[in-house]
C-alpha cells in the first residue's frame, strides 16, 4: 500500500508541477525514481517532524502541494501543533501520508504504533482523514487528493493486505462503500478492519445472521447520510477499527448518529483498549488479542444478537 501511495505521488508530480514530496528520514531508496527525475521537488529533511510540517505549510502558502511522508505516529503526535496551526488554521493543501497506521509496527512497541492518530486528526477543523483498506483502493484515492481542498491525512496499512475493494464499486473521498448488503446486522469498518468485517459477515451469515459491511475509507468527513439510509431493519450496528476506542472512528459514528436525532439501533464499538499495547509479535497478534480477528468479531456479534451473555 505504501509503495502504491508513493508511486502515485511520483505520478502526480509528473502531471502537476505543484506537487512536491517531503520525507523525514525514510528507508534508503524511497521514491528514488522521483528523486532522480525531479530532485528539486524531492525533499528528505531529517528527523524533524515539526519543521517538516511548517516547511510544507510555507511551500503550500506559495502554491505548492506537498505530500509529506513518515511513520504515522510521528506524523501525528510529534507535530500536532504544527498540523493544527500551520496546516489546518491556514487550510492548506498539504497531504500527510502516515506509514503503519494502527498496530502495523507491533514488534517495535507502543512508541511506534499509531493507535490514536485518527482521533488526533479528526478533531482538527478543515482536516480530512482517509484510511484505505487495500493497495487498489489507495491507487483510486490518490489522484483525488491532488485537488482536494485543505489538509488531508492518509493512514496507510501494512501492505500486502488482501484486495477486497473493487474498481466497479467506484471510490470517492467522503463516500462510504457498501461492500455487503445489511441484514439484521451492519458492520461499519475502516482501513484493514474491512477485510476482517467481510470474513466475520460470512461467518455470521453461515449462522443465519445476515450481516452487511459498510466500508469507510474516509473517516472525516464521515458519510452519515448513507448510513442513515441503511438503518431500517438493523438490530445491531458494529463499528470496527484498528484504533483506540477513545475518540476514533466508532466515536465519530456515534456522534453523528446521535446528532441525527433518528431512532437508533444499539451500537457495539470494537477496537483497541484504552491502554498502550503491552505485547509485540505482529499486527495480527495484537488485533487478535484485542478480540479483533474475524472469528472473535463474529462470536461477539452473535452473542449480542442471540442475547447470550458476553464471554
Amino acid at each position: 500500500m505504501r509503495k502504491s501511495a508513493l508511486n502515485a505521488v511520483h505520478q502526480l508530480a509528473q502531471q502537476d508541477e505543484r506537487v512536491v514530496f517531503v520525507g523525514s528520514d525514510l528507508g534508503a531508496g524511497t521514491l528514488e525514481p522521483m528523486r532522480r527525475e525531479m530532485p528539486e521537488r524531492f525533499f528528505m529533511e531529517g528527523i524533524s517532524e515539526q519543521h517538516i510540517i511548517g516547511m510544507a505549510a510555507g511551500l503550500a502558502m506559495e502554491g505548492y502541494i506537498p505530500y509529506v511522508n513518515t511513520i504515522a505516529t510521528f506524523l501525528t503526535r510529534r507535530c500536532l501543533e504544527q498540523i493544527a496551526v500551520d496546516l489546518c488554521m491556514h487550510n492548506l493543501p498539504v497531504r500527510l501520508i502516515g506509514n503503519g497506521g494502527g498496530v502495523v509496527y507491533a514488534p517495535l512497541g507502543p512508541t511506534h504504533t499509531a493507535t490514536e492518530d485518527i482521533a488526533l486528526m479528526r478533531v482538527l477543523p478543515e482536516m480530512t482523514v482517509i484510511a484505505p483498506c487495500d493497495a487498489d483502493e489507495i491507487k483510486r484515492l490518490m489522484p483525488q487528493t491532488l485537488e482536494w481542498p485543505g489538509p488531508l491525512y492518509i493512514r496507510l496499512a501494512k501492505g500486502g493486505d488482501e484486495i477486497v475493494s473493487r474498481a466497479e464499486s467506484g471510490c470517492t473521498i467522503g463516500e462510504a462503500l457498501l461492500m455487503r448488503k445489511p441484514g439484521r446486522v451492519l458492520l461499519l469498518s475502516t482501513g484493514i478492519m474491512t477485510q476482517r468485517a467481510l470474513r466475520a459477515a460470512e461467518l455470521l451469515a453461515a449462522k443465519g445472521i445476515d450481516t452487511g459491511v459498510l466500508h469507510y475509507h474516509t473517516v472525516k468527513p464521515l458519510d452519515i447520510k448513507q448510513l442513515l439510509a441503511l438503518l431500517s431493519g438493523i438490530e445491531l450496528l458494529v463499528t470496527l477499527e484498528e484504533h483506540t476506542l477513545a475518540g476514533g472512528f466508532g466515536s465519530s459514528v456515534i456522534e453523528l448518529l446521535s446528532d441525527s436525532l433518528q431512532p437508533l439501533p444499539p451500537v457495539l464499538r470494537m477496537g483497541l483498549p484504552d491502554r498502550y499495547n503491552g505485547g509485540y509479535g505482529s499486527q495480527n497478534h495484537l488485533l487478535t488479542t484485542a478480540g479483533l480477528d474475524a472469528v472473535d468479531i463474529a462470536r461477539q456479534v452473535a452473542q449480542r444478537i442471540n442475547g447470550d451473555a458476553p464471554a
Binding site: 512536491v20 528539486e40 521537488r41 525533499f43 529533511e45 531529517g46 524533524s48 515539526q50 519543521h51 517538516i52 510540517i53 511548517g54 516547511m55 510544507a56 505549510a57 510555507g58 511551500l59 503550500a60 502558502m61 506559495e62 502554491g63 505548492y64 501543533e81 504544527q82 496551526v85 500551520d86 488554521m89 491556514h90
Partner: protein
C-alpha cells in the same frame, strides 16, 4: 562566555527615539486604548527592527498585499503584533482608525496576527517556534519558482527555547538559503523573567554560526545601523543570515523598560494610559 557585545547592549539602552519611533509607539498605545490590554513590552522592543524593515528593505504593495513578487515577512513572535499592526496601518495596509479595535470581539486585529484576516500578514503566528519553518518553505518555493524575492522571519529571544527553531535552522543551512534572513529581537526578558535565568541562550551568535548561518549583531533600536546591515544582506553568500538585534523590552516607555509585568498587561486604567503617552513624550 557570552559571545555578544556588551557595548551594543548599552547602545540599545541609551538609543534616543526620533519622531517616527515616537509616533509608532503612540500608535501602539492607541491600539491598546480600546480593549485596555496587550503585549506592550514585546511590541516596543520591535519597533525599530520592523520600521526599518518596512521603510528600507522589504518590497511590498499595500494595495496589492498578495503581489507575487513581494518580499515575505513573518512575525514569528506573534505576540509582538502591536508593533506590526502600527507599521502596517502606517503603510496603508489597513486604516489607522482600526487600531483601537485591537482585541475587540469583532475586530480583525487579534492578540496574535491571523493571515486570513489581516492584509500584509503572511502567516498566522502566536504559538512560538513556527515562523522559521514556514519561512524556510517560502524561501524554497521562491527558489523553485525562480523568483528573487526574499524571506525575513522575526523571532523573539524566549522563542528560541523551542526545539523546532533549531530544526528549521539546520534545514535553512542545508539548503543554503541566502534568500532567508532571521532577525532575533533579543530584549533579554521572557515572560517569567530574564532569559539567562529561565533558559539561557548564550553564546547565541556562536550558536547561529555553528548552525550554518552568516551572523551579525546590532543595536536593534538604531535605524541607521539596522539600515546598513539590512543593505548588506545576505551576510554571506550561500548561507542564511541571522541578525541578533539587541533591544530593550518596553523601549521608549521608561517605567515599562525591562519590566516583566509589562510583558502582557490587561485592565489598563485611564491613568495608566495617560502615563504611557506621557512616557513616550518624555523618552530620550
Amino acid at each position: 562566555m557570552p559571545s555578544i557585545s556588551e557595548e551594543l547592549i548599552q547602545e540599545a539602552q541609551l538609543q534616543p527615539l526620533d519622531r517616527r519611533s515616537r509616533d509608532l509607539r503612540r500608535r501602539v498605545v492607541d491600539a491598546i486604548a480600546g480593549e485596555r490590554r496587550g503585549h506592550l513590552g514585546p511590541a516596543c522592543s520591535l519597533i525599530e527592527i520592523l520600521r526599518t524593515l518596512y521603510d528600507e528593505y522589504l518590497h511590498f504593495r499595500p494595495d496589492e498585499p498578495n503581489w507575487p513578487l513581494r518580499d515575505r515577512a513573518i512575525l514569528s513572535k506573534g505576540h509582538g503584533c502591536l508593533a506590526l499592526y502600527a507599521i502596517l496601518a502606517d503603510k496603508g495596509f489597513f486604516p489607522l482608525a482600526d487600531l483601537p479595535t485591537f482585541c475587540a470581539p469583532e475586530s480583525y486585529l487579534g492578540g496574535h496576527p491571523e493571515a486570513e484576516k489581516i492584509p500584509g500578514i503572511e502567516a498566522s503566528t502566536g504559538a512560538l517556534g513556527h515562523g522559521l519553518s514556514i519561512g524556510v518553505g517560502m524561501a524554497l518555493a521562491a527558489r523553485l519558482g525562480g523568483s528573487d524575492h526574499r524571506v525575513v522571519v522575526v523571532t523573539g529571544d524566549g522563542e528560541l527555547n523551542e526545539g523546532s527553531v533549531w530544526e528549521a535552522a539546520m534545514s535553512a543551512a542545508k539548503h543554503q538559503l541566502d534568500n532567508f534572513t532571521l532577525l532575533v529581537d533579543y530584549n533579554k526578558l521572557q515572560s517569567y523573567g530574564p532569559i539567562h535565568e529561565v533558559l539561557g541562550l548564550e553564546p547565541l551568535l556562536d550558536k547561529w554560526r555553528a548552525f550554518g548561518f552568516g551572523v551579525a549583531e546590532v543595536n536593534g533600536h538604531s535605524v541607521d545601523d539596522l539600515r546598513r546591515l539590512y543593505a548588506s544582506l545576505p551576510l554571506e553568500s550561500g548561507r542564511p543570515s541571522a541578525i541578533i538585534c539587541h533591544t530593550v523590552k518596553g523601549k521608549g516607555i521608561g517605567y515599562a523598560e525591562s519590566a516583566p509585568e509589562w510583558h502582557h498587561k490587561a485592565r489598563i486604567s485611564d491613568d495608566e494610559l495617560a502615563a504611557l503617552y506621557q512616557a513616550i513624550e518624555e523618552a530620550p
